[in-house]
């Protein structure tokens, strides 16, 4: 589904990604872990098409298309979803209106008729129940005055509504207490399906207690330096990042 080949990316002339390779198949859950500043969020931004980042080398194919050739909105319409680490506030625009616009833009792109009010409402009710989100939250201005947990839940709700092929969850666990984390993780688990892949980006192992990944990759200094199964995450939890990063630094110095 997603094939990342030797991606290098800069911001303000500084190289952050230094050759990333990654293959994700439908139904798989991958976790990318790494210390702060390793390039995790950059990878998410590059895949979603944030313009500040310049891809200098490499290729990304998504569902057989050249992802890097697509505009941000077309990537979204093709089924790439990014759950933001810091979802922005848009004053005066309710989540309901916002997501309605998004759903219908996607349908238009796919050559489908826009949903009428009734069908849209029905869909919303279903997804609300699925991810345990309150109606009241959806009628408020998007993310404005939301708590950390509410923002993340709102992201998962939008993911449910947009039914992506690939969902990238950028530090979705950051800033959440254990109860909020559990609700958010439950939501994501319910959205797992054989034709949907999920890429979890996280600093901590604890999210992976709730969402079991198929593969775990360690990102360090712009490269994936180690890949493995979920046991790798446990090992990281136990020994810290140092046991890998020291190894890498040592190798680099030799």
């Amino acid at each position: 589904m997603l094939s990342v080949k030797n991606i290098h990316a800069n911001i303000d002339g500084r190289e952050i990604l230094k050759g990333i390779n990654l293959d994700i198949k439908p139904g798989e859950v991958h976790a990318i872990m790494g210390p702060n500043g390793s390039g995790k969020s950059t990878l998410a931004s590059v895949l979603a098409g944030r313009e500040e980042y310049e891809v200098t080398e490499g290729a990304v194919s998504f569902l057989g298309k050249d992802l890097l050739e697509l505009s941000t909105e077309d990537r979204a319409r093709e089924g790439l979803f990014l759950a933001f680490q810091y979802p922005v506030e848009i004053p005066g625009v309710s989540t309901t209106n916002f997501i309605k616009a998004a759903v219908n833009e996607k349908r238009k792109y796919l050559g489908q008729e826009p949903l009428d009010a009734v069908a849209f409402l029905k869909m919303m009710k279903e997804k609300m129940a699925l991810v345990e989100i309150d109606q009241r939250l959806l009628s408020r201005s998007i993310n404005e005055g939301f708590s950390g947990g509410e923002k993340k839940r709102n992201e998962v709700f939008q993911m449910a509504m947009l039914e992506p092929k690939l969902a990238i969850m950028d530090e979705t666990d950051s800033g959440l207490d254990i109860d909020a984390l559990r609700i958010v993780a439950n939501g994501i688990n319910k959205l797992r399906s054989p034709d949907r892949a999920i890429l979890l980006i996280t600093h901590y192992q604890r999210l992976l207690d709730y969402i079991q990944p198929d593969y775990v990759h360690v990102l360090y200094n712009g490269r994936i330096v180690k890949s493995g199964t979920k046991e790798l995450a446990l090992e990281l939890e136990e020994k810290g990042y140092d046991f890998i990063t020291d190894e890498v630094d040592l190798a680099a110095n030799q």
Partner: protein, 481 residues
């Protein structure tokens, strides 16, 4: 007419009966302004002597005034001798079908969701609609008169209710108030008159839409609304359709009087011709609007959505004379291409415990200049006066300007006045967030702008709000990217 259609919808469905309405007075007097012009206008309107005297007084005062220069707008010198001051009523160019109408105009109607029949009426296709809207207006009038509400043209009021007109005309905006008010006082041709008697809550939104001769009242409109004790009225001004008017200069005066515990809500959606993309043509909209909260516990609320006119220069104001009176001003001003808007409000606190609130949202795009100018004054007697003002500006594009000029004058030590203003462009982060959800830039900007303006839009009556929202989206077209 014997049978009165119940609704406009029915009215426009009725058969085209009379062909052209030919009994329209096509009188046009010569260009220019002099005492004779005014005598002529007054004479044509068959006005009483006192009205003519009033006009002449205003004219003589106007001669002594200089055109104001302080606003943040630039326009070529207006030659006041090159204007036709009496051309009413002017027949519209008759079209045989909508096919003959300006396609750009029709496209706009389409987007606004204006019905086909309504489109015909606005472009002047079906003349019978105009006739029938007269009858509708009449039917409303009857309904209103049963509860004592007077709603008619100001010309009619001068004939039928001279005592009210004499008492209130110029009582809020004196003829000597400013250059354009003086000019209007001298030469106004028509406008609305509303009188809400004591204790009456006007059961419907009064609107210029239903008024006879709306189309021709344009250039120097004069509106007077009086709400007696404990009455309420909501008045809608203007038309959301983009009327192409060849009058360059519009200098209207609106006066509101709210007596004890009365409330007047005045909503405007202004979408006059803004000129073309290069800034050619368009209306100069120089308006004086002022309300007087005369009685205790009275309230006046102005809401405006301004997207039209080449130049807008208006400051709907409230004089808070009665104790515990409330003044409100909610405004969205959108400027695009080469439009210039200098708009805002004045809240003059005179009474005790008076309150005012100002919410102004300015959006600038293209090469336009958008200024908020507001005055909040707490006079010495205005014990416990409170004002809160919020002025936000949003910039779309790097050729436009957004300016804020609040004047705050406080002479009472118990007054509390707060003003906040921000200016920013649409955040890159907001745009990226929208795009990541599959929403393209233009839709995203429309979404964000409507969100930005929501607090004001919410003040509009429902059906008006929907149209205003669409209007905003249309005005914004081409301003992104």
């Amino acid at each position: 007419m014997k049978e009165k259609p119940d609704t406009l919808e029915q009215a426009v469905l009725t058969e085209y009966k009379y062909g052209f309405v030919t009994d329209i007075d096509t009188d046009v007097i010569a260009k220019g302004l002099s005492e004779n012009t005014i005598r002529l206008i007054s004479n044509k309107k068959n006005e009483p002597e006192w009205m003519l005297d009033w006009r002449l007084k205003a004219y003589n005062h106007w001669l002594k005034l200089e055109e104001p220069k302080w606003s943040n707008v630039k326009y070529p010198i207006i030659n006041y001798q090159d204007i036709i001051y009496y051309a009413a009523p002017k027949p519209k160019k008759q079209l045989n079908s909508l096919d003959e109408a300006d396609p750009e105009l029709l496209a706009t109607f389409e987007k606004l969701g204006i019905s086909l029949n309504e489109q015909k009426r606005l472009t002047g296709v079906a003349v019978d609609v105009v006739m029938d809207s007269v009858s509708i207006a009449t039917s409303f009038k009857e309904q209103l008169s049963e509860i004592g509400v007077i709603f008619c043209s100001i010309s009619e009021a001068i004939q039928l209710h001279p005592e009210l007109v004499k008492k209130y005309l110029g009582s809020v905006v004196p003829m000597t108030d400013n250059y354009f008010a003086a000019l209007n006082s001298a030469v106004f041709t028509d406008g609305s008159f509303c009188y809400i008697p004591k204790g009456v809550r006007c059961p419907m939104e009064l609107s210029t839409y239903f008024r006879i001769n709306t189309e021709n009242a344009g250039q120097f409109e004069r509106t007077l609304i009086i709400a007696e004790d404990e009455s309420y009225v909501s008045y809608l001004e203007g038309c959301t359709a983009p009327m192409r008017d060849e009058n360059q200069l519009h200098a209207a005066v609106v006066e509101l009087v709210a007596h004890t515990k009365a409330e007047i809500k005045y909503s405007t959606v202004q979408n006059w011709y803004p000129g073309d993309k290069n800034g050619l043509g368009g209306i100069y909209n120089f308006v004086t609007k002022r309300g007087m909260c005369k009685g205790d516990h009275s309230k006046i609320s102005w809401t405006q959505v301004e997207t039209g006119s080449a130049i807008t220069w208006k400051y709907p104001s409230v004089i808070l004379k009665g104790d515990h009176s409330i003044g409100e001003f909610y405004s969205v001003a959108f400027t695009n291409n080469h439009q210039q808007a200098d708009t805002g409000t004045k809240m003059i606190h005179l009474g005790k415990n008076t309150r005012s609130r100002i919410v102004s949202k300015g959006i600038s795009a293209g090469h336009s200049q958008n200024s908020y100018r507001g005055l909040v004054r707490a006079s010495k007697q205005a014990t416990n006066a409170r004002n809160y003002s919020q002025c936000d500006s949003l910039l779309l594009g790097d050729k436009c300007g957004a300016h804020t000029f609040p004047y705050i004058e406080v002479k009472n030590k118990t007054a509390i006045v707060e003003h906040e203003a921000t200016t920013s462009k649409i955040g890159e982060d907001q745009l990226f967030y929208c795009k990541q959800r599959g929403i393209d830039a233009e839709t995203a900007v429309a979404l964000i702008v409507n969100g930005f303006a929501k607090e004001v839009m919410n003040q509009l009556p429902m059906e008006f709000a929907v149209e205003a929202q669409k209007l905003l989206a249309i005005s914004m077209e081409g301003s992104v990217g």
